[in-house]
Each structure stands twice: as C-alpha cells, then as structure tokens.
Symmetry: C2
DNA sequence: GCGTTGTCAGACAGCGCTGTCAGCCCGCTG
DNA sequence: CAGCGGGCTGACAGCGCTGTCTGACAACGC
C-alpha cells in the first residue's frame, strides 16, 4: 500500500539502514549515496511512518499542552505558538484538558507518559498547581516547562510575564492621569498572576503615597460576568472611583458594560483598564487601555526550552521573565472633577 | 521500563493475544479470563503503547482538523467538540492549519495520509474549497466530513447550519420591529455562509414587499475591522438605515463601535444584529441580538459521523442541516421615527 | 609489512502490538 | 458414540522502523 523504507532502499540500491541514516541525518553516509537515497525518496513520494519510528526509537515526538478549559482565549494563543514551534521541529502537539479538581485528568496525563504518547509537557495556569503530578513527572524524568506558574521558587523551568511590573506600570499611569480613588477587580486567586498584579497595584499606590483602600477591591475570576458584577458594586460606592483596573481584559469588558448600564461615560467620567491585551480589548467600545502580556512569545520560548531539553540539552537558565508593556487606548483619560 | 502487554499476560497467566482481545473488546473471551486480565492490567498500571497499536493495526486513531488560521474564534469551538468526541472514542486530534493559497499546506495533509498519521479529516470553511485535495483524499478512500461547506451539491458528507433560514428569521424580526431601511454587512465571500445569509436576508425583504437596496450592502471579511469600516460607511448614508444586520458577531461588534463613535444610540436610534452567537456577543455593550449557530453540536455531529465511517459503517445520511435560532438581546429595538 | 584509525555500509534483532490460523474443549445432533 | 460446530485460547509472523554490531575498505604511522 504505502511506500516503506524497504521500497526506497530497493529503489536506491542500498540497505534500509542507510535510508534510515539519511532520514535521520546521521553521519557516515557518502554524499553520492545520500543523493541517490534522497532522489529515491522524492521519486517514490516516501514519508516515514511515524508510528514505526516512535515504536523503534522509543520517543513519541509529541508535546502535551496541559490546560484548564476555562481559559480558552489564553490557551488559543499558547496553542498557536506551540503549534508553530512543534511544526518547525517535526513534533506533534496533543491537547490535554486538565481540571485541577479531577484526579482522573491527572491519571490521564500519567497514562500518556506510560504509553509513551507524549515526550514532555507545557503546563499552563492553574494546572501547575498540582504539585504531586509535577513531582511524579520529575521522578520519571519527563521534562516539562511551566507557563506563568504559581510557585516560582522551586527549581523547575518556567516562563512568566512580569505581572508585578505590569500592575505597577498601569497603576502609575492611572495615578499620573490624576486618579486617586482607583478600584481593582481581582482575578482568579488560583492564578499567581492575580496576586502579582494586585501587589504591583499596591506598590504603585504606596510609592505615590496614595492609601490603599481594601473596600475598592472586588473579587473576580477572570470571566466577563465577574467584571460586570464587580463593576456594579464598585460604581455604587460613594464617592465613586474615577478609575477601575481589572486583572484581565474580559473583566474590564464587564466593567465597560456596567458603566454603560449606569450611564457613566467612559473615559470622561470613568477610566477603565485591563490586562493581557487579548483581541477582545480592541473589539469593545471604547477600546481598552491594557497591559500587553507577550503570551505568544512566552509560549514560543517555553516550547523551545522544552524541545531543547528533549534533545538532551540541559537548560542553563531555568527561569525566564518577559516584560509586560502598557498599551494605551480609548478607555482611560484624565480625571475630571467629580 | 514501561509495562508491556507481555508483562500483563505473564501476570494473568494467559497469552498476549488474549490480553489484546480484552483491550480491544473483542468477542470470545470468557468472563473469568477477562476478569483476570483486567485485574492484572489494573495491578500493573498497564496502558497500551499507542505507537505499537498503530503500527500493528495500520490505523492511527487520530483525526485531523483542517482549518484556516484566520477564524480562531470559530475553530476554538469546533476544536472543543472534536476533542470531546475523540476522547470518548480513544482517538487523538491533530491540528492542521491550512491556507487555501498555500500548496505546501495541502502537501502536508497528503503527507499525513501517506504516513498514516491521520485516519480521517474534518474540514472547516474555507478549506473545503480546495476541490483537488478533496478529490485526492476521496480517491485514496480517506474519509472526511465538511463543516458548513461551500459546495452542498457534491455527494460528500457535510454538516451545516441553516444559514439561509437564520438570515431570513433575523430579517423578519427586524422588519417586525418596523425597520425598513436595513443595512447588511457581507461576510468573506469565500465562505458559503455569507451568500446564504444574504440570500435569506433578501428573501425576507421580498416576502414583506420591502425593496432590496444594494447600496445598503457593504463588503466585509468576518473581521471586526471590516464591521467598523462598513458601519462608518452605512451610517453616513442619507437617510440612515435604522437597523444593520452583520454577517457575523465580530463585524456586528465593529458596527457597535462605529455607532458609539458617531454618537448614535443603540438600540434607540439604531438596531444592530449579528450572527453566530460567539462569546463576544455577550461581552460588548449593548449585548448583541444574533442568530445562534449550533457550532458545537455541528462539530460534535461531524466528529461522530467521521468516527462512524472510520469504523466501516457507511453513512446513511450524507447531509445534515441543523437549525439556527434567533437570540434576542439588547442591541435591537423598535424603530423610532427618524 | 603490519597494526591502527576512520569512514562508510549492511545484517539482524526487536520495539509492543494485532491479524491469521490452528487447535482445544464442550455440548449438541443423528 | 462418532461427528460436528461454536466458544475460547495461544503460537507465530510481521507491521516499518532504528540500535547494535560486524565488516569492508582506504589512509596513515612505524
């Protein structure tokens, strides 16, 4: 049926092993022989059977992306970056949904390892919280890289954005516009990012001698609805905040909706800021001032690190922190007298 | 290293073939034997090596999702549905980005087939436009199912929404609110959906004896920006349309932004309608009246059809059309005197 | 001249599983 | 009680590839 390595070998007049050498770029093949084999492969339209390669070599050439299915917007970007990197290196990518509450999902991941279906993993938040799982992978010497992880202290590789700095910069920007009563909508507390962004917020307030008022912070979970409800609460307080900083863009979009509902003009009477710079940020009105998190680049880097450690290289730098940058759009403006 | 079928067989005191039978749910295994084998697998934590299974059986147990990378919002939903179905059947899913302009991407798909990496494909628009590719797959007896395809006449399986009916229903609804000057923002003409929705729009106008005015139709490409620019054009015409129907939600969000820009109140002075009911529809303000396209269910159905035909069943019904339903939210209202 | 080293190539086993086929046992029929 | 067929099980080959080992041959130093 399909063309096999044997067909190529016969056609080129060499052994299958020699063809295999050519396929895998191994040394000790004469240029003339290599040429014949390449021509034969071309001629016959040969492509190696991956399952056979995997079985014989014991490596699957597949990366697993472990993610929690609530954060699809984010995962989307990560996925694209991984796909790109995997493609370059001839790797495949497997999607591993994983709910941190469900032990079955963790079993599934270990099963993939036992089956040799996956060579290594990328963990996205909050899945890296499952320390027992990480420990098991570590003990089985299965490499993985964490994206924006919870625990930055342990000596395991990760790539993360500078959430603290992003929170700090945005707050400083709002302060520079004259805002002092600034609301904050917290993100999902399972994500380290929520805490870091809040810490950056607090630090900037402190640096400018503006007292931190806990009553201006509402809980959220990174979803639009929690921004909407948080906005409704904050905008009923008296005096009203003149700016609100949400832990991500989805919630900031919720804030915009709440302001529209209450007839509060943005940015004239209220400035709204988000975080992440997802496409949504430009699809709401007014478009969101936000902090751009280089998600794509981070995922790309994570994939590169993983692929390198899969090739046997040991990673010289375990921890990579990428800068987050302010993106100023239409949803923020100078404070006007209340 | 890892537990193999041989280990399980030895542990259970049977042959490897019998273990294989249990794994694959084949008939002619005594209940007592099955019990012993299951217990042994459990005890040893056995999971079959997929590569070996694939090599031996000649089937990869992987589906390919062929998509164009412009439509991530849509693909996201499709992907989730496929993932779910694949998981149930023990299949994997491979993402195959495919630009209809790039022959290399088509070669890649054929390569996956040659390599036996993928057993069958789901095509999402506009990738099903590549007829030569479909023909090659067909001649190699590689099954595939098309989602919302271009050509509904050829006897190849597909699952599609009733775009015509959706366009008709929405238009009728807008007419029932008293609107007569209704703008239309066209979608990407490579997608059959754009044409069908427009046809439904026209048919509803005709049924209500409202003349169709081509000057109220602007070109678009399903992206937010084209809705924004289309809105700017349509809202400058005189007399202004009192309602605009966009071919999808992203463009409808662009319309909202254009209206906000020009200080036109929605829905008081302008009704805006979208199509698809993606999450964005509820994250803009006012939330979008739209047509819910059962994307998830369609993708699910497509996956089930593909999996069934992979199992050797012949599909009794090749074409499935699922209804689209009106979802009324805040962006539409009765026409007020101009 | 011989041993040594380096380059190149092929024979062969085996990765972990499934398909094929042969064979056993048991209950049934005539 | 022989003959038969269906339920159940195992031996064995082989899927397509790679790792290991062995060997041929040329070039080199002593």
């Amino acid at each position: 049926m399909a063309v096999t390595i044997g067909d190529v070998a016969r056609f080129a007049g060499v052994s299958t092993k020699t063809v295999s050498r050519v396929i895998n770029d191994e040394p000790f093949v004469a240029e003339s022989t290599r040429g014949k084999v390449v021509a034969a492969m071309q001629e016959l339209g040969y492509a190696p059977n991956i399952s056979a390669q995997r079985l014989a070599s014991g490596r699957s050439h597949v990366l697993g992306l472990v993610f929690h299915s609530a954060a699809w917007n984010y995962i989307n970007i990560v996925q694209r970056a991984l796909l790109e990197e995997c493609h370059l290196e001839g790797y495949g990518m497997l999607m591993n949904p994983c709910d941190i509450e469900r032990p079955a999902d963790q079993q599934e991941i270990l099963r993939l390892v036992a089956q040799q279906t996956v060579d290594g993993f990328i963990f996205t938040p909050p899945c890296d919280n499952i320390t027992s799982l990480l420990e098991q992978l570590q003990s089985q010497r299965i490499p993985f890289v964490r994206l924006a992880p919870r625990d930055c202290q342990v000596p395991l590789p990760y790539v993360a954005p500078d959430d603290w700095q992003g929170g700090y910069d945005m707050t400083q920007y709002l302060l520079s516009l004259g805002h002092e009563r600034i609301g904050f909508v917290m993100g999902n507390p399972d994500h380290q990012a929520s805490h870091d962004r809040l810490a950056g917020f607090k630090a900037a307030l402190e640096a400018h001698q503006v007292p931190f008022d806990p009553s201006l912070v509402t809980a959220g979970d990174f979803q639009f609805e929690s921004g909407l409800s948080g906005g409704r609460v904050l905008l009923e307080t008296n005096p009203r905040p003149t700016a609100i900083f949400a832990c991500n863009d989805d919630m900031a979009a919720g804030l915009l909706a709440a302001a529209h509902e209450l007839g509060i003009a943005v940015p004239e009477a209220l400035s709204v800021a988000g975080f992440d710079d997802v496409p949504l940020a430009q699809q709401v009105w007014p478009s969101l001032t936000t902090v751009r998190q280089p998600t794509y680049e981070m995922a790309q880097l994570a994939a590169q690190l993983l692929l390198r450690s899969l090739k046997g290289e040991s990673l010289e730098t375990l921890h990579h922190v990428l800068p987050a940058t302010l993106v100023i759009r239409g949803s923020t403006g100078p404070r006007t007298s209340a």
